[in-house]
């Protein structure tokens, strides 16, 4: 097997050119998926037999909670790749993931609170899943704070990568918190290994929403990453040539 593609992926210039071509496609796909999923979920999916219409926030809540964790794993993996193979692009990717992940975590916590009020009768409960999500937010904020505290770009990337890897222990805690502890939060709605407990009329729009959120993440991520590439490579010839087009 040839590994040249992996090394080419590590070249900021090559990645910048390629991702410029992917971006419009991804943006259109994410707009399409998000509109379909959200409109279907909020307007056409049948009301829940127990929760009525209030369950509909699931179409925002579940995908954002998914992304909050996926972002952290992406960040940690990118950090590890940066530590091991010293790829500049991986360092930049880890840095770009953090604010997006923090935003998704805040969105998941907020929509969870809004959902909790009608179903549990409270905005916030110190249950295992909620608390571990809050810890996840603190981990993101710590990552961002450490990144901004160290001036040297490479040192900052390395230190942040170590921190992200250490924080990775929280992810299985979040994942299994609802199974290990008997708490208020309902168990996972979607499982890979089992038949879904949801009716297909609700499940299909949810899956579309999740796919849409992933695409949206990729779009925002690529935008941030491209910005970061331009900034860090600002002294190179190719960036200067590229910037000339806008003058």
């Amino acid at each position: 097997m040839k590994w040249t593609w992996f090394h080419r992926l590590g070249s900021p210039k090559w990645f910048f050119e390629k991702s410029g071509k992917w971006l419009p496609w991804l943006a259109w796909v994410s707009i399409g998926l998000l509109t379909t999923g959200v409109v279907w979920g909020l307007a056409f999916a049948p009301p829940d037999y127990l929760q009525g219409n209030s369950y509909r926030i699931i179409f925002i809540h579940v995908p954002s909670a998914f992304l909050a964790q996926a972002c952290y794993v992406t960040m940690a993996v990118a950090g590890a790749v940066g530590l091991v193979w010293k790829m500049k692009l991986a360092d930049m990717a880890a840095k770009c993931c953090a604010p997006i992940g923090a935003s998704f975590t805040i969105l998941a916590l907020l929509t969870g609170a809004i959902w909790g009020k009608p179903t549990w009768g409270t905005w916030w409960e110190w249950d295992a899943r909620l608390t571990s999500m809050l810890i996840l937010l603190f981990l993101y904020l710590g990552f961002i704070a450490l990144e901004s505290a160290i001036d040297n770009v490479q040192t900052a990337a390395k230190a942040c990568a170590v921190l992200a890897l250490v924080g990775l222990v929280n992810i299985p805690i979040i994942k299994y918190s609802v199974e290990w502890w008997n708490t208020l939060h309902q168990p996972a709605t979607l499982k890979l290994t089992e038949k879904p407990s949801m009716a297909p009329e609700m499940l299909v729009p949810l899956l579309i929403c999740i796919a849409g959120f992933y695409c949206f993440f990729l779009v925002v991520f690529l935008y941030r990453l491209r910005n970061e590439i331009l900034w860090r490579e600002r002294r190179t010839q190719w960036v200067r040539l590229w910037m000339k087009r806008f003058q």
Binding site: A159, V169, I173
Partner: protein, 225 residues
């Protein structure tokens, strides 16, 4: 030099240094007692209420007191250059880091253990919860030192690392706090508390085996700056 003799040498040196700087050992202890005595003043001196909050108060105070002493863990070695020598030495860095963490625990967490009974008395902790409290602190405070040392290693090169250090370390300490105070709370309610203690033991084993590598990586990064 053999691994064991290197370990002993670091432990001896750090203990000696620690006792030459007695204020740094004593201050966190005073802080521990001070923080805990704020709660009866701030909430209520009523006996029942205090007994209810005592497990959490003792654990949070211990966590904050250990936090306070973390800032200095690698600072002096970093400032006088001996940290660079440790990094360059042929003995594996994670091993030396483990020795330093052991000393840090001895002069912070282990000393807190001696003062914890005083707090338990002041806060009217039920008698049944005394041994679980000591056991949970015995298992939990080394974890606080291990996890904290990762943060201290990452921030040692920074001028104003103190607040940042707490921001990095406190979220990681939350599981220790939950299991530690959970064991004491269970004991005050005459429930089985062995589960929480076993969880702490599991975390401690994981911490001793994995954290030194993260500490060593952090030290390398900070020294190379």
């Amino acid at each position: 030099m053999g691994l064991l003799s290197a370990f002993q040498l670091i432990v001896k040196r750090d203990l000696l240094l620690a006792f030459r700087r007695r204020a740094e050992i004593v201050n966190p202890l005073i802080f521990f007692l001070l923080v805990a005595s704020l709660f009866p003043l701030g909430i209520t001196p009523e006996r029942k209420m205090l007994a209810l909050i005592a497990p959490g108060v003792i654990w949070v105070a211990a966590l904050l007191a250990v936090m306070l002493s973390l800032d200095q863990l690698f600072k002096h070695d970093y400032d006088d250059g001996s940290l660079s020598l440790l990094v360059l030495s042929p003995v594996p860095l994670f091993w030396l880091a483990l020795a330093k963490v052991l000393v840090h625990w001895l002069v912070s967490g282990a000393l807190l253990l001696l003062f914890a009974p005083i707090l338990a008395l002041m806060l009217h902790l039920p008698d049944a919860a005394w041994w679980p409290m000591l056991a949970s602190l015995l298992l939990g405070t080394p974890l606080l030192s291990l996890i904290g040392a990762i943060g201290a290693a990452l921030t040692v090169g920074l001028k104003k690392g103190g607040v940042l250090l707490s921001l990095l370390v406190l979220p990681l300490n939350i599981p220790v706090l939950i299991f530690g105070s959970g064991a004491v709370i269970a004991a005050t309610q005459a429930l089985p508390y062995e589960g929480q203690l076993l969880w702490l033991a599991v975390l401690l084993v994981l911490g001793i085996t994995l954290a030194p590598f993260a500490i060593a990586a952090g030290l390398r990064i900070s020294v190379s700056e």
